[in-house]
Symmetry: C2
Subunit: 256 residues, 2 copies
């Protein structure tokens, strides 16, 4: 196909269904919204299956469309109504891609960040983006958390998802292995060790728990150190992505 | 009123309308969702006008309801359908309050954070929450940004909104005044001064711009220092709330 066609009805349904995790897992496909994120997909090892462009932005997205067609990636148009139907975001920028899962492997890693029970897709996506910023390219998610292909999580990574090792895993088992080679630092509200005093001497793992439940007990037992981000004692807690951001900022100062 | 009544239709409409900024501004009222946030309202100087509880959580929220009724705050019940209609969040926890605006004044402040053109309500709310955590209780928002009473912003503050001075202002004018007494630090992508090397000698202001446009030129001219949060050069930018969090963490280390 070297021309742009109208999105057929059966494909609208197919894309809409990718909002459901079970169907994503079965089809091994996910949606990625926004021209910037589609561009990041193009610059990655991921495979784009198709792209849908909203009719009113076809003209402004001509360059992207030409690139896609040259690569033999099918491009479809959809009117406003149909486009909104297939999208997750309320005000998407008129471009959405369907891409295939890419299976990243747990390889011997340098430092990493692990998320234990973080259920907010925006937070998970933002943490992936922040880890990528600071050069921590392995992000572990425990099974049962928000999946990395959740449309909002994908959007919040701003494309960093396609350049990092984001791995869903049995966190207890994986951390048990990594404990041999890594210092495991967990952020807890009860800790007395201030983050400023943490100075990892070797590769490290940062473990961030959920805002409401913290790090789960089985994981907590595996920690080398519990640390805290001291506040003024006024607010009850920090947002998980902010706590992860401060932690990544601090710990990566010790990476050569 | 000392008993719980069904939410009348005209009030459903009234609450639903508070999702619109113009109407909030005209009525000087806003909605705050979730039992935790309603509790924080009770512990603040804000006035609660009424509370709506979803029928299925009346039993579990009995303690809160009793407290509200004792304070002569009207409490209404609504079924699932009507409750969803008045709420902003997709899965609200069954409690929503209507409260009155509270006019905070710009008083001579110690240190503060100013947000220039941040349009994501979740980011604005998270930054207020983080500033509160670190004891920076004055947050300036320039006019034209997301308003502090946006339902999602309110939710994201986790109640910190009710305990901080969150002030909408002409940022250029206000910062021109503060420049006499404060060191003004702005996070920019182009700066060469790493945040680690910033050591304020007096009260400071942190200025955070939007992710897409940065700090606006008129504000940038007022800065005492531009700083950057150095990354590994892999990702394009940091999320605004994460950048603000790292900045607050760093700068408050220099507060006595």
């Amino acid at each position: 196909m070297t021309t742009v066609q109208q999105l057929p009805e059966r494909m609208r349904k197919f894309i809409k269904n990718l909002h459901i995790r079970k169907i994503r897992d079965a089809d091994q496909k996910f949606i990625a919204e926004g021209p910037k994120i589609v561009q990041e997909l193009l610059n990655s090892t991921f495979t784009i299956e198709l792209v849908v462009v909203r009719t009113d932005v076809v003209e402004t997205q001509q360059e992207l469309i030409t690139t896609l067609l040259k690569l033999n990636i099918p491009v479809y148009t959809a009117n406003n109504y149909h486009f909104e139907y297939i999208c997750d975001a309320k005000s998407p920028q008129g471009v959405v891609a369907v891409a295939s899962f890419y299976h990243q492997l747990i390889t011997p890693v340098t430092s990493f960040i692990a998320l234990d029970g973080i259920n907010d897709p925006g937070n998970v996506g933002t943490i992936i983006r922040t880890a990528h910023w600071f050069g921590v390219q392995t992000i572990l998610l425990n099974k049962g958390s928000v999946d990395r292909y959740n449309p909002k999580a994908v959007r919040s990574t701003m494309g960093s998802l396609f350049h990092c090792n984001v791995i869903e895993t049995d966190l207890q088992q994986t951390l048990t292995e990594y404990k041999q080679t890594h210092e495991l630092y967990g952020a807890t509200l009860e800790a007395t060790l201030p983050i400023e005093e943490c100075e990892p001497q070797q590769n490290f793992g940062i473990i961030i728990g959920s805002e409401s439940h913290g790090i789960s007990p089985v994981i907590r037992k595996l920690l080398s150190h519990e640390y805290t981000i001291m506040g003024a004692g006024l607010a009850e807690s920090l947002n998980a992505a902010v706590a992860a951001g401060i932690s990544l900022y601090h710990f990566t100062m010790f990476v050569e």
